[in-house]
């Protein structure tokens, strides 16, 4: 009786602390929602009647194209690499992650330059193969091309999820299915894919959110997504309230979509036995080898090698004019803000995941989900919501807006979901019996965390940290609106040159972003591989 009581008060304290944290994270959204109450809805109705149908159509179409190609680029290489033995497999496995280091807007600007009439591809053809040049002289600023370009930058979210999941599904199920006479292909579609649904979806969710948030690339390609509607009313109609209302509207659509997915997945919520046997890898036939190489090579070549060669080419071309002092300065700025923000995110996310394990409580679950949802808002809208929030305080706001604290607050809000996602699957993976045993042995929550959860989730924590870090290095819209005076990051500088179409000048900054990302991702890859190996052994 006595013990139970202590536990209860303790858990109340914990729940209280998570509620406070969650409120801090979602407070700007609340401010945003409040700012839309009692607004003049005439502009909203106007947009609704004139544009939103078209915008919604473009949004859905772009999401579908990007998702389709992200799945193609992500799922199949992951499957081949998990189940086959072939030369170059380990190199592919690393290279397939690397497009994640290239921000979507850099990918889009780079490709539009490569493909443009004055770009290298068409110039080369004009000079050497004039007949072919006519055929390739096309308008490449099309929604379909944009979808593919975005997929090239975003598919690693799905690849990562699949690699982990396929290795967790393990060979038991696969062997069983094979011995029941199912072919490899059939096993893949009937067993592996359904078992990996949840993780594929979590990767896809990130892809879709990124598509919904993108503004620069989308505008350049003449595509109008829902986010364009938000900026149409803010930038063109000078109506911030309507922009906020649309952002809130978008937010609720995403929440609805997200909850539906949760609801359906709950019905399928089964726990499979984690993998115990090493994956039996197959040595493929020659024809299959060609297919495998093609499948793995395509995303690597288009998503990483071609853009990176183009960027390096530009750096060499501009080399004499590079201000290296500035490059170092911006690199350290970028590094510091990313480090601080991702550390804070990880601390909060780990705390939440740990509490969710030791305290089974509905409120906690709800708040846990709630702090992921800020990911559904475009960066610029998060910036706006913070400006609204801080300017509604009566004290001197200059102290806050335009200070690093607010910038970091905004990053934390925006990327909480990215940090939570890998932690969640890891924390959920381990059986509840661990905790029960520990509690029965009289361990305090802190001890339980330190001696059990921290070690067993170590890799996931590192993964979460690295992924958030890479994302914040690439962040653009929030930094543009909220950064302090004379404070630039690599992303900001890249963007400023890129929109002025000085792609060569921007290249050293984009290359630095990509290199930082690549180094972090190689670390990440090592950790993930260890995870996969551990679950194999």
């Amino acid at each position: 009786m006595e013990i139970k009581k202590i536990k209860q008060t303790n858990s109340r304290k914990f729940i209280f602390s998570t509620v406070i944290f969650s409120i801090i994270v979602v407070l700007p959204i609340v401010a945003l929602i409040f700012s839309t109450i009692n607004i003049d809805t005439s502009n909203f109705k106007y947009l609704w009647n004139n544009l939103l149908l078209d915008y919604s159509f473009d949004t859905v179409y772009l999401v579908l194209i990007t998702s389709f190609f992200s799945l193609i680029f992500g799922v199949f290489p992951a499957w081949y690499i998990s189940t086959n033995n072939f030369r170059g497999k380990n190199i592919y496995d690393v290279l397939l992650y690397l497009p994640l280091a290239i921000p979507v807007y850099i990918m889009a600007f780079t490709y539009s330059d490569i493909l443009s009439y004055t770009g290298p591809m068409q110039s080369f053809l004009r000079n050497y193969f004039p007949e072919l040049a006519v055929f390739f002289n096309q308008d490449y600023l099309q929604i379909e091309i944009l979808g593919i370009i975005m997929a090239l930058a975003l598919y690693p979210y799905i690849y990562t999820a699949c690699r982990l999941s396929f290795s967790l599904v393990g060979s038991n199920y696969i062997d069983l299915s094979r011995s029941l006479g199912m072919s490899r292909t059939k096993t893949f579609y009937k067993i592996v894919i359904p078992l990996s649904r949840v993780s594929i979806f979590s990767g896809l969710f990130l892809v879709i959110m990124e598509v919904l948030n993108e503004y620069g690339a989308v505008k350049y390609f003449g595509v109008n997504t829902f986010t364009s509607g938000i900026f149409r009313s803010w930038y063109s109609m000078q109506d911030v309230e309507t922009a906020s209302l649309l952002a809130v509207f978008l937010f609720f659509i995403v929440v609805l979509f997200f909850s539906l997915e949760r609801f359906f997945n709950l019905r399928y919520n089964f726990h499979y036995k984690p993998n115990t046997k090493k994956f039996k890898t197959e040595s493929p036939s020659n024809i299959k080898k060609i297919i495998i190489h093609f499948t793995c090579m395509l995303p690597v070549l288009l998503g990483f090698i071609i853009p990176i060669l183009f960027i390096i080419g530009n750096v060499i071309y501009e080399f004499e004019r590079i201000d290296f002092y500035k490059v170092i300065n911006l690199t350290s700025n970028t590094f510091i803000v990313s480090l601080i923000a991702s550390s804070i995110i990880i601390v909060i996310a780990v705390y939440f995941q740990f509490l969710k394990r030791i305290i089974k409580n509905k409120t906690l679950t709800v708040f846990n989900e709630a702090i992921s949802l800020t990911y559904a808002l475009p960066g610029a809208v998060i910036g706006l919501s913070l400006i609204i929030l801080f300017s509604s305080f009566s004290f001197k706001t200059e102290v806050l807006i335009g200070s690093f604290a607010v910038l970091i607050y905004a990053y934390v809000m925006r990327y909480m979901a990215v940090g939570i996602s890998p932690l969640k699957s890891s924390f959920e993976k381990h059986p509840a019996s661990y905790d029960d045993t520990a509690v029965n042995l009289g361990m305090s929550p802190l001890k339980l965390f330190k001696s059990i959860h921290l070690p067993i989730n170590k890799s996931a924590i590192a993964i979460a940290f690295l992924i958030t870090f890479v994302d914040i290095i690439k962040e653009l819209p929030i930094t543009l609106i909220l950064r302090p005076f004379n404070f630039d990051t690599l992303a900001v500088q890249t963007y400023e040159y890129a929109i002025e179409e000085m792609i060569p000048k921007s290249s050293i900054y984009s290359l630095t972003i990509v290199m930082m990302g690549v180094i972090l991702l190689i670390f990440l890859k090592k950790i993930i591989n260890k995870e996969i190996d551990v679950s194999k052994s």
């Binding site: 009439y117 308008d139 595509v223 900026f231 706006l384 400023e496």
Partner: protein, 341 residues
Amino acid sequence: MKNFIYIFSALLITSCMPNKKNSNEINIYSQRHYNVDEIQYKNFEKLTGIKVNVTKANADELIQRMKNEGDNSPADLFITVDVGKLWQGGDMGLFQKFDNESVFENIDSQLLDNNSYWVPVTYRSRVIVYSNERVKKEELSTYEDLSNEKWKGRLLVRSSSNAYNQALMSSLVENLGSENTSRWSEGVVANFARDPKGSDRDQVKAIAAGQGDIAIVNSYYIGLLLSSLKEEEIKAGKAVSVFFPNQGENQRGAHINISGLALTKNAPNRDNAIQLIKYLTSIQAQETYVKNSFEYSVNPDVSPDEIVQSWGEFKKDPVDLNSLGTNRNEAIRIFDKTGWK
């Protein structure tokens, strides 16, 4: 581990502190992110010892930030590339009027604000460029003529979310009235060679690629293409010629827009700001602008860059520049109604 926590919290705490107050400085919110601006600020710092702090972002975001910061805003100057945003800021009460007439001294009076809320630093024209191969100069005349059926499938322009297009449409609303402008826009949309997309430079490249014959672009982009380090871009620039519309005897002249700055309502470093404005409109700084960005100088004594001079002189539309802001909402509605994406 403990040390790490100490360092970490120290970093956190210092990050919450505002930038140190320094009376010998000036804070700018700017939409301009051209290299030439950095050169100007550095020269000014050398000359006066006043430190220039800049935050660059989209004009509307900066306006929103100033509005919400209210009296506490640290900004002294707001700089943008579209007069519509300057009008808007003045209309929202974010700026103070210039009572110091000497800031206008060096400036062409046609370019000045009737309400004295803003000062122009450069101007540019939104012109028509045409393919040297497929279009004869005589075929072109006015903006109005762009809705003529003879341009069907031949006209290129970027999207209506672009402020330069919005300013052009606003000027047409002012000159022709809403109804005529709507009809014009319908005709123009019917003549599009493709859906609006890309940047101004992309429209020129599309002419070079043969995807269209004429395009509406800002004048300085042609200068930038012609002075590019890439041979292919120079070629694309050479494939077109610049045409200033509405130059006939009874016609109003080509549409222009300014890049300009305004003094914020509570500018904490007002005197420094005035000094910077005087510097930026001086002959020395104006020459730096025209050489680097191919814009036109607001100072009548400074002539444009050679490339720009080669296009000849032109008559400017004398419409009150503030009307490019007041008509903005109407312009947007015309874009949407007539399907100009």
